[in-house]
Symmetry: D2
Subunit: 341 residues, 4 copies
């Protein structure tokens, strides 16, 4: 069986696991006050070139999104997101359960249509009856998006200007951030992203960790008593060291970026193989997720040998499916996949 | 000055106010257990031909929508609504603040596109990964809609079938229900609406009451301890009699329907007058709200003599405005409006 | 039948009702922007000698408490209240439903034990692990309390100091405020209360209005976009004029204080009558609610002629019951009650 | 430095970590559908002798408590807990943030006073005005309690009867369950606990896991779409295998019980050493946490050599401190502690 289902099907990268193992029996204080968390925080601040950053470690993406959005917004505010955004579709209503509307805007290939976003904000703040409506207080993007696409630096600058103009926060969900940064089409560095966003997270779960996301407020300014807010959301780990150890490893010797580069190299091989086999791409993705349109019968046949994801119905005879590479993908399985195809 | 701004600019219809005045000094028990509420409940059940109905009185539309939706849905469920629905746009995020997603579907002239709703529900329940998404548990419609339009009986039957098929509740927001029932284009009676919906409300605030909406569960089945839930939402009036008295008056001698008919007769006169003046209609509304497209300069000039509502920008030179009639509109003001135009 | 069950069993005081009736057909703008609300706001600001005050009108006490507490507290904060406080016991969990803990402190005769409150706050803020706990952000008192008792001016000053010292807000629930201010034992004026509290409300429902409470931020500082927050809570009346008209009447020619004085005069008569009949008082209440301990059989016999409230079990053979006077109580019914007793 | 601060200062027991390491690179499906979770579930069901049980894995205690309580209660219900309960005091208001009141009852040594609980429930359900109050829908106990004490089997039976009588659920927080089951004073087995509770959890974080709690519904009956509810709370791990692997190890060859027994044996040694040193016990704890009263100066001196927890102020000159053993405590450190003392 070949595995291209997602980027979280294996455990942790061996170097990450090693840090957990080697520090396992050392007594440490709880709740993220341990030296591993402290070291990881410093390394992340350095990697972001953000000496005033505040860094917190959380367990997963939905948890992070819910905590960030619900604690940074006022009760009368909602968050703008692409109609296909993770917070819009795939978090079981976590944002609304925390009391906030996800204001879904039109998007293309997973990216917010910035012109539409500008028109929306402009009309909203010009409306003299807007007190009966939810105020947009934040723009949520994912980088890369759900569909593997990337915002260019000039698009991010445009979003930053829009947010500043209308006093909204800019938040980037980096569940797969390492796969964005390693893409040949990415013209934004980690430091630049940090300078453009009010808050973002660096995803570990999908990039070599067992669990964990590093939430970064690059200029500081986390909500007051943020630890209590994390606790209240059931997200404060007694053994915060588990997260600290992993991010400490990921940000040692640029492991995080190296894992991203490996996955992207594998994705390029995958694309080439799919192209050689005449597969029809659903869209052009420059990162680790590749979407192709296949006949329903072909999908059924392929399932016997390969694990991959059904994405959505395309038409009555075919569907969009996803193949993902990760830090753990090897060149042999891509060759094997090409053979099977 | 002429008044066509909305249908809640005056106080109560004189007969409604009279019932409050004449019962004012009689001591009664609190929280809706008084004889006025009891009498009003019986009259509403009779008018709906729903002997098993449960009827509760609440203060306003947003309050009613929030309580209905949040108490009938499970935490993992959201409510389907038109993108232009009141719950989607004009309730300051009340539904999301109660923890539930408003699943906004495409609409035309304020009405949910039923075919799109069917496709959405069908795709959702066929998706084997739907446990990561919000489950649709209810369809919310307004009758008439925000734009004054009406669902036909066959459309309501289709919505009913859709709901039954996918185990969703059908809820009708009747903030202006009396204006729907009195429309010449309405082919649904109050009894039929009651038989088709799981829950709906009969709006008083916009139809002759000072305040108040009558929430009807036509087949019973209100959530357990509903009084406590109303209390918890801050919506249980100590002097429930205020609501009971008004609905008792509104449902005596068909006052409610008569007020609706008067407003619709006035709306027909208004339409004729607007047409005679060559006004361009934004859409064809069979109820008490009429939407026309006017040049921005014309709007400014008219504001000196008439109060009406700005609805939305149409293009750079013109906008959609709304003229509303109500139980309180008289023929003289329509004649005067025509003259001004 | 004689009526001493509560202070909201009749409708509105005739002067209050008259203001509604006489302004009924005048078209006015909605949502509290009408001239009646404007006038009432000015009169209340004058009565409070608080020219910078912000005043909002809401429908009932639980609604007001929920909105005040949930919009003024941060998510990590709770509100301190007496164990017998209205928010602690009789609001169906409205405060918790809005996400905040009611931190219940020991009390005597309905009043927070200020020494205990100081010990609690002092221990809390000294605890280096307090980030795992709910932060006290507000002290809620009712004035008069649930048991009709009053804080003295020096006690209010002490609470004010405590709040200022620990950066907590002081909020007074004045559901029956007029009955406090009119009590011979009250050494605090409305202006003084306004100068001591960060926020309080002047109750209308129990003091001559059909419905309505006037929420006062004496020094300004209501939460941003407070109208949207009210809307989101389902508490923004389209016909805000209903509340404005009533408070405009209540604050004309000191009607509010006069109604209070009448009820207190009646309460003094009631106390004298109860004493003459040898009734045993549960506590000494200087306001309009009187609590006496009666044998269970006597309670049953009295119910045939008089409506009064069961308060709580006292012992196996007797219970605490409540007799309340109001603006509507007359001297004849007290004489009749004495006769019946 | 000697470590007696808490029972989560080290990482995982070596056998637990080994299971993570040895399965690390095997591709598995996400969100708890992997074979490790499946195996762990079966072992837990067997250990509980509950073949119909439903078992879910979550990350931490507060998260588990919040999800259990908020998804099993109706919105009008609250949860009864001891005034010193974890949900009452040390979860940053997580339960209230989910919308539910924690009904705090008097307790002794951390245990709910069952007689008081019965009186409360009996009075509540007899009160004809209880619809204005929060309904008790669940009794929360911790086993062992925050203070290390245990309910006897007969007390648990009494709680079970109380719950059944008043239609309340019985929920046991087993953050330290293994330390209870191993105590010589515990007369309840895991199977018996499972048969008495509607729901409980087996704590991993404090008993040899890096992270993780096993939530057990012994008779089935988890809330519908529980996975979506977990997701909505931000608690669904993509790599659920991390939890599955650990509980699979903990429930292999009774490791969980063996770890508990070790900690209790060490606690007995610790008690003996403390007694030999003439320390004054705050209460008699039969589990792994020992509370003693020490002079403030003695505390300061001891801090130079030993890490332990400040619990609370006792009087002006002394305080209660806690020493905890765990699966990782060795006899040498207890000897060393005695020496230091």
């Amino acid at each position: 069986m070949l595995y291209f289902e997602n980027d979280y099907q294996q455990g942790a990268h061996p170097s990450v696991l090693e840090r957990i193992v080697e520090t396992n029996l050392i007594p440490m204080s709880g709740y993220g006050t341990d030296p591993l968390c402290e070291s990881a925080r410093e390394k992340i601040k350095a990697a972001c070139e953000s000496p005033n950053a505040e860094v917190y470690f959380l367990s997963g993406g939905t948890q992070t999104n819910r905590i960030v959005i619900s604690t940074l917004l006022a009760p009368y505010q909602g968050v703008i997101a692409a109609k296909t955004g993770h917070v819009s579709v795939h978090e079981g209503g976590a944002i609304e359960a925390s009391g906030h509307k996800v204001i879904e805007l039109p998007c293309e290939n997973g990216k917010i249509d910035i012109q539409k976003a500008r028109e929306y904000a402009s009309a909203f703040f010009a409306d003299e009856n807007n007190e009966h409506m939810v105020f947009p207080g934040m723009v949520y993007i994912s980088f890369p998006t759900e569909l593997g696409t990337l915002y260019s630096k000039s698009e991010l600058l445009e979003l930053r200007r829009l947010c500043s103009e209308y006093n909204m926060l800019l938040y980037a969900d980096g569940a797969r951030l390492g796969y964005a940064l390693a893409s040949p089409e990415c013209d934004v560095s980690l430091e630049e992203l940090a300078s453009l966003c009010d808050v973002f997270y660096i995803g570990g779960t999908k990039l070599g960790a067992l669990i964990g996301e590093a939430l970064v407020f690059p200029k500081g300014g986390a909500p007051g008593h943020f630890i209590t807010l994390i606790k209240q959301n059931g997200a404060l780990l007694a053994k915060g060291r588990l997260l600290g150890a992993q991010f400490d490893a990921l940000f040692t010797d640029e492991l995080y970026l190296r894992l991203g580069r490996h996955a992207i190299a594998m994705a390029e091989e995958l694309k080439a193989a799919l192209r050689r086999k005449g597969m029809r791409f659903y869209l052009e993705s420059p990162t680790n997720q590749q979407f192709v349109i296949m006949k329903n019968e072909a999908i059924e046949r392929l399932r016997q040998f390969v694990r991959f994801s059904f994405w959505e119905k395309y038409d009555d005879e075919s569907a969009v499916v996803r193949f993902a590479t990760s830090w753990a993908t090897d060149i042999e399985s891509i060759a094997a996949l090409e053979k099977v195809l």
